[in-house]
């Protein structure tokens, strides 16, 4: 039986019970067999992956240990540049030689740590659209129920981690694109502090909101990935010059004395919040309280408006990037991508400035809350995975979202599985912390995962194999 976490695989590679070549080959076989049904990968890079795996095995055999990612198969979202493969952003618009075939800095760091790249994982077009089957890219499906959405935009990485087509990977998050797929596919996903991980070499969506985050089964695995991914890089003007802690070393299982804020309005009392999601999150909070934390219901004013502010800034920045192609190549964009991007034409200059003024106001409210509390906890999503056929860009305007708030404020936020709905779909909780407190939110997630096993549940995908 294959190890399903990075932590277990790293141990198995070192005790000799498996080689990276064997692990990678089995994951490649599974990915190849399941990709037609799940649409996790745009391209599976078999040859390069096996070369990397062989190199990782040889290095380990020679006593060269580069840390827990050495020999670990990972999925790379296809808006992140990976040497030797085109970056498509799942779009007919982007030139396939985008970034000149050079690794993004974050990929280069993983490569140096000895990671193995299974392939380029499916993304929503330009990290914003919904799938358009007519454009020739894989349509991603939720491994728990293929009629339901795997969410976006880091759909492929989310599916790959859940279905065992990689042990971890990279997503990007501008309004929830790491946490959404992690939530509905049933694993862990971390949106990092803005600037924590350099985002050069990544096709931009919202310049002031974008972040690259680790996705994996457990908080420990995300911590191991982040240790390698994080840190300053001169090529990203927003890269933060902050020290990078040894995140895995911070996960000691203790939440004793941790102060949890539960913002009731909007996040817990919204009429569209699924009752099972509501109850599962509060049940998990109760578990944390049982471990020594305390929780209080709090007020966070204007949370509904914060969702709109994030959306306005996101589409304004995205529109600036895409404007010329929208004018000249409208129908080359997917049928669901172009109307979302075009919303940028419907906001005026004052709206953008006002959204930025609101951003400062809301960030101050959140900072005041995090002066009194260590973390904020909310549901990661209002509902379990929706039926894919019911999704439209218009619907996105009408439904609540609990993730964009933390892009607006630039804070770290991790999505953690907390159960399953009666329909068999994953439920998820979100833990938000102060700037650069990734260690804190991962520590809380890890503490929960030491007393629960929701993150280890594997979807029944065997019958889907081609």
């Amino acid at each position: 039986m294959l190890p399903i976490t990075i932590k277990d695989a790293a141990a198995a590679l070192r005790d000799g019970s498996i080689t990276s070549t064997a692990l990678t080959q089995q994951i490649l076989d599974k990915a190849t067999a399941l990709n037609p049904a799940l649409g996790a990968y745009v391209e599976i890079t078999t040859e390069a992956a096996l070369d990397q795996a062989a190199a990782a095995d040889a290095a380990l055999a020679a006593g060269e240990d580069h840390g827990p990612l050495q020999g670990i198969p990972l999925a790379i979202k296809d808006i992140i540049a990976l040497e030797g493969t085109p970056t498509t952003a799942n779009s007919r618009v982007l030139a396939p030689d985008w970034n000149g075939g050079v690794d993004a800095p974050v990929v280069s760091r993983l490569r140096q740590a000895g990671a193995v790249f299974v392939g380029k994982a499916t993304t929503s077009e330009f990290a914003i659209g919904l799938p358009d089957a007519t454009k020739g890219f894989p349509v991603p499906h939720n491994p728990w129920n293929v009629e339901h959405t795997p969410a976006g935009s880091s759909s492929g990485t989310g599916i790959a981690v859940a279905a065992g087509l990689a042990l971890g990977g990279l997503g990007t998050d501008t309004g929830g694109s790491v946490r959404g797929p992690a939530a509905v596919n049933g694993h862990t996903g971390l949106k990092v502090t803005f600037g924590r991980v350099p985002k050069s070499g990544v096709v931009p969506l919202g310049f002031s909101l974008d972040s690259i985050g680790p996705m994996a089964r457990s908080a420990w695995d995300c911590a191991a990935l982040l240790e390698v991914m994080a840190g300053y890089d001169v090529t990203d003007p927003n890269s933060a010059q902050q020290p990078v802690p040894a995140y895995t070393g911070l996960l000691d299982g203790s939440v004793d004395g941790l102060r949890i804020a539960l913002p009731t309005s909007y996040f817990f009392d919204h009429e569209q919040l699924d009752p099972e999601m509501h109850d599962a999150v509060l049940s998990a909070v109760k578990q944390l309280v049982g471990l020594g934390a305390s929780s209080s219901e709090v007020e966070l004013a204007h949370a509904a408006e914060a969702k709109d502010a994030n959306h306005i800034i996101l589409v304004a920045e995205a529109y600036a990037y895409h404007r010329n192609n929208l004018v000249n190549r409208w129908t080359d964009y997917g049928v669901h991508t172009r109307p979302t991007l075009a919303r940028g034409a419907f906001y005026n200059a004052g709206d953008i400035a006002q959204a930025e003024r609101f951003r400062r106001y809301f960030a101050r409210q959140v900072a005041a809350l995090l002066d009194e509390y260590d973390v904020i906890i909310t549901p990661a999503a209002p509902t379990p995975a929706e039926r894919a056929a019911e999704l439209t860009p218009s619907k996105r305007l009408q439904v609540p979202s609990f993730t964009g708030h933390w892009n607006l404020t630039g804070l770290p936020a991790v999505a953690v599985p907390v159960g399953f709905s009666t329909s068999g779909l994953p439920l998820s909780m979100q833990i938000i912390g102060k700037p650069f407190a990734e260690g804190t939110v991962l520590k809380v997630a890890d503490a929960l995962q030491r007393v629960s096993d929701w993150h280890l549940a594997v979807p029944p995908v065997g019958t889907l194999a081609a």
Binding site: E305, H311, V327, E356, R357
Partner: protein, 67 residues
């Protein structure tokens, strides 16, 4: 007060975007929601808050920043 059916085609024309009739109908239907989201941000609570954007000319002159 102009209606979405008048505003939306004008905005799309100004933006040089050529859309299908179906897309236009969707844009017109959604426009009130789009505006509602933007209008909701004109809050009195914001007071004198400045936009959360920063431009530091010294970013482009690292040596000068060190000095």
């Amino acid at each position: 007060m102009p209606e979405p059916a008048d505003i939306v085609p004008a905005l799309l024309t100004a933006a040089q975007l050529t859309v299908s009739d179906t897309e236009l109908a969707t844009f017109v239907r959604d426009y009130p929601l789009v505006r509602q989201g933007a209008d909701a941000l004109y809050l009195l609570d914001l007071g004198a808050d400045e936009p959360a954007i920063r431009f530091d000319p010294l970013d482009f002159y690292p040596a000068g920043k060190e000095a």
